[in-house]
């Protein structure tokens, strides 16, 4: 079946199977920043933004996204792009595999949390797992990016 998605600001038609998850469709069409890791909606690696809200694309049917706006890391712009630099500056890029999902979640968080604190950041991001960094370095980088002090 054919669906229409606005991916990173560009409207395109996608030929999908009705039972396909969004992650599979996006990867099939070349949005390779979107990664699969757990298959069960547990780890946050596959996160993309659907109408600016973080969504686990491994458990979100592509058909649900019809006519919606999808943002992947390839499509982030402006100030949001600097988040990657904060992560690299702190050395928490490591294997990098969870970075696209984390970055998109942080971008959504920045819009959503009005007075972010260390605790509210940790709580918001707790569904984004990382096996390399032990989290604390990521937190340092994200707090700097958000302008939140200890």
């Amino acid at each position: 079946m054919i669906i229409n998605l606005h991916v990173n600001g560009i409207k395109k038609s996608f030929d999908i199977n009705p039972d396909e998850y969004l992650v599979e469709v996006l990867r099939r069409y070349g949005y390779l920043s979107v990664k699969k890791a757990c298959d069960t909606g547990s780890c946050g690696v596959c996160t993309v933004l659907v109408d600016d809200s973080p969504v686990l694309s491994c458990s979100y049917y592509a058909v649900r996204a019809n006519n919606k706006h999808i943002t992947t890391v390839e499509g982030i712009s402006g100030e949001d792009r600097s988040l990657g630099e904060f992560l690299v500056d702190e050395g928490v890029d490591q294997c990098g595999y969870c970075s696209p999902g984390l970055i998109l979640t942080v971008i959504a968080m920045k819009k959503e949390l009005e007075n972010p604190t260390k605790e509210s950041i940790v709580e918001y991001l707790t569904g984004n797992l990382c096996r390399c960094t032990g989290y604390v370095g990521q937190l340092r980088a994200i707090m700097r990016y958000m302008g939140v002090s200890e």
């Binding site: 294997c95 096996r131 032990g134």
Partner: protein, 773 residues
């Protein structure tokens, strides 16, 4: 010492960092050809069985199925999946496919089809008839079991490590130093004798196992794989297919985490086989369930430790006996087992006698394999728990007990001589052992003086602190090889070619820093290319904490070699003696200042004018030197007495890894490694049903630490310099994981009086112990 260096010690960002965080297609599956065959594997539902009959007719007839392999039509060459230097100490006990299946998840058939959907459909059409055997599901009963998992005539040994399949023994490891341990123990005033158990732990790297393959323009079988060991994959795949290693090329792209899991050749055999037989590109991507079910995990162990001391706390004897569960296959069986002893017992080098005995037994569990720490994590847990128990028995501060007994700078342990290939019998002094500093600094950072042993917060909340020391190796002396080449290109730029496998650790980056240091140039004019068996020189790969030390030393040799050649060419150009030439990184000049040429002009002249050469420096490194890193770890926990839940409030680790090549990246290595230890201590456990079927096969059931589980982690580095390391560096990757489990267990003990000897410390386990107290 640090001030001497230009590039070493700098907080350089990872050379691939921006590519990774901007989502560039750099990982294996991003690079696979779109139209390649997709491979799926039919797996055994039984823990132990023989395939009596297998019918693939219907599957083969399914439209879109390219090929189906069973044990009846694959090449039958024995191998081990363990990524180790040849000849491997692991038993060759595996075929690509076998008529025996030895755990739930073992491979039965391989299907390659034009789509994933078709391949999965085809799996369902394969009919298998099994003769089911009684499985061995308790490692403590493996040796006496009537079920024999492997057969001598169906295995191959490079060397005798005590393989005794009739008793389900894959390997035996024994050594002892000093006086007879039993006699010494008899004369000890205080003795601790306990059994500790460590669980199987799953790596849970974010990128699951995967590889793809194709035949290139030269007829070479190319495998692109998410691996830590490209050069071992090349050799092992060639062996499994019965072809020359010269026909196989392995490329490692960017890797989404490994932690030892990818030190085993998990998936590469299958696309290699399919592409070799069909000539078509093919790929395999394990889903999360397969990754948990059908790869490897940390060897579960039962460790008996007996410690004896006098009344003043001088430890006189240590006896360690281990049963290690190597599961269905013997990957890393002997070496993980031995490392549990020979990289933990030297911590207490003043004993009158130390003895290590151990067996790695086959069971019908998921195979054991390499996992960050490689047995040392298990050994450290048992030994350090026992030392903490001794401190409690003596009513002595565990720090004081460590100070009395631990290895110190300039001292040695005979165990190093006994367990290291080619090292000889002269004592090997630990010139860069800063354990004393690590303990003193950690004590201060955790505020031990005020917090030890416990603080009652409320009627239901108690806090406690605990600690542990640990060591590891820096690569495998006498076994490992690393090599590197650096070329000077036109335009005055350098390319570092290294076989080392960066799996996210930052190896490419720190090796570039070492190259810059050796050449005496800015790291900005060096590019790195790594881990392609056809294009880069040999390196064993990313394991045994060997990259900084071995690969780093090779890069340093290559850099110094090339620098010499630059000076020699400068001398020839200026018609002066070599020793009268200077190279400051930008210009080559004569000492008297009369002649100068920029590096750019120099390199252009070399290549385009006379003498029409490209200068290259190379280095291959091995050693029998031993350069263990040391750490001290301190945990502060808060226990909820009502629920048994343990919150880790603070974890402090002070690390002696020699010179810190890149403090920023080293810190993250440490923080990540500590959290692996925390996961092992508190959350993670591979669980199976009574029939051997995996329960923890998703990330919903298998609990790695999440963000809210991790509070404050403090990492600090000791000022240290190891003269055998590249610019003084030792390793960091694994040692950082070791202290968390024993330190957390002791913190819980100090808080509650309950000693957990079987990991992990789950709330139910602790609550039951509190109830029964």
């Amino acid at each position: 010492m640090k001030d001497k260096f230009q590039s070493v010690g700098q907080n350089l960002s990872k050379v691939d960092g921006m590519g990774l965080v901007t989502g560039k297609p750099l990982y294996t599956d991003d690079l696979a050809p779109k139209d390649c065959l997709v491979i799926k594997i039919l797996r055994s539902p039984h823990a132990f069985a023989r395939i009596k009959g297998i019918n693939t007719e219907k599957a083969e007839k399914l439209v879109g199925v390219e090929v189906v392999f069973t044990h009846e039509n694959v090449p039958k060459h024995l191998y081990t999946r363990a990524g180790q230097s040849y000849p491997e100490p692991s038993v060759y006990d595996k075929y690509i496919l076998d008529e025996y299946v030895r755990y739930v998840g073992d491979e039965v058939a391989i299907v390659a089809a034009q789509s994933e959907e078709t391949a999965l459909k085809a799996l369902k059409l394969i009919k298998v008839e099994y003769e089911v055997y009684e499985p061995v599901l308790d490692m403590m009963k493996a040796q006496g079991s009537k079920s024999q998992i492997h057969f001598r005539e169906r295995c191959f040994l490079n060397m005798d490590k005590g393989f005794e399949p009739e008793k389900n023994i894959s390997a035996v490891y024994n050594f002892s130093v000093g006086e007879d341990v039993d006699e010494v123990l008899e004369n000890c005033h205080v003795v601790v004798k306990e059994r500790y158990k460590t669980q199987a732990q799953a790596h849970t790297m974010m990128e699951t196992y995967r590889a793809f393959s194709y035949i290139d323009q030269y007829g070479t079988l190319v495998i692109v794989s998410s691996t830590q060991i490209p050069f071992h994959v090349r050799r092992d795949v060639a062996l499994s297919l019965g072809i020359s290693a010269g026909k196989v090329r392995v490329i490692k792209p960017r890797i989404g985490g490994g932690f030892g899991g990818k030190q085993t050749v998990q998936v590469e055999f299958y696309p290699a086989l399919v592409t070799y037989k069909t000539g078509k590109p093919s790929k395999i991507v394990y889903d999360r369930k397969e990754t948990y079910q059908a790869t490897t995990s940390r060897h579960a162990m039962a460790l008996d430790v007996t410690l004896g001391s006098d009344l003043d706390g001088n430890i006189k004897a240590i006896d360690m006996n281990i049963i290690s569960d190597t599961g269905a296959y013997g990957e890393h069986a002997a070496t993980v087992l031995g490392a549990a002893g020979y990289k933990s017992l030297p911590l207490y080098n003043r004993v009158d006698g130390a003895r290590f005995t151990g067996k790695a037994v086959y069971t019908n569990h998921i195979p054991g394999g390499a996992f960050r720490g490689y047995g040392v994590t298990q050994g450290t847990f048992a030994l350090e728990s026992a030392v903490n128990e001794l401190a409690a028995k003596l009513n002595m501060d565990p720090l004081v007990l460590r100070e009395k007994n631990m290895i110190r700078k300039g001292e040695s342990s005979e165990i190093f001589n006994l367990t290291t290939v080619g090292v000889g019998s002269d004592p090997i002094p630990m010139d860069s052992c800063e354990l004393k500093y690590c303990i003193d600094k950690g004590k201060e950072l955790i505020d031990w003086g005020n917090k030890y042993p416990r603080k009652v917060i409320s009627p239901t909340k108690v806090r406690g602190v605990g600690m542990s020391i640990a060591m590891q190796g820096s690569g495998i002396p006498g076994i490992d090889t690393a090599s590197a080449t650096i070329k000077l290109s036109d335009g005055g730029t350098f390319t570092l070619l290294t076989g080392a496998a960066d799996i996210g650790t930052g190896a490419d980056t720190i090796l570039k820093q070492i190259a810059a240091e050796g050449l005496g140039v800015s790291y900005d004019i060096i590019t790195v290319f790594s881990a392609d068996t056809e294009l880069t020189p040999f390196d064993v790969g990313a394991y045994a904490s060997g990259t900084t030390y071995f690969s780093g030393n090779a890069v340093k040799m290559a850099a110094l070699d090339l620098r010499e050649k630059i000076l020699a060419e400068g001398a020839r150009m200026f018609e002066i003696n070599n020793e009268d030439v200077l190279f400051d990184g930008l210009e080559i000049s004569s000492k008297d200042g009369n002649k100068t040429i920029s590096l750019i002009d120099f390199s252009n002249k070399l290549i385009y004018k006379r003498p029409h050469i490209q200068l290259m420096g190379t280095g291959s490194y091995t050693t029998t030197d031993i350069a263990p890193p040391f750490v001290a770890g301190f945990a502060e926990v808060e226990v909820d007495l009502e629920t048994g839940k343990v919150d880790l409030l603070n974890f402090v680790e002070v690390i002696d890894c020699g010179t810190v090549i890149n403090p920023k990246l080293a810190r993250i290595q440490a923080e990540g490694g500590i959290v692996h230890g925390i996961g092992m201590a508190l959350f993670e456990e591979v669980k199976e049903t009574k029939k051997g079927k995996l329960i923890t096969n998703t990330m919903m059931q298998y609990k790695i630490p999440c963000r809210m589980d991790i509070n404050n982690i403090v990492v600090d580095f000791a000022e240290s310099y190891d003269k055998t390391g590249p610019y003084g560096a030792k390793s960091i990757g694994e040692v950082v994981t070791n202290p968390a489990p024993p330190a957390i267990v002791d913190a819980v003990f100090n808080a509650t009086g309950i000693r957990i000897r079987e990991l992990p410390i789950t709330p139910e386990k602790l609550k039951m112990a509190l109830i029964n107290k």
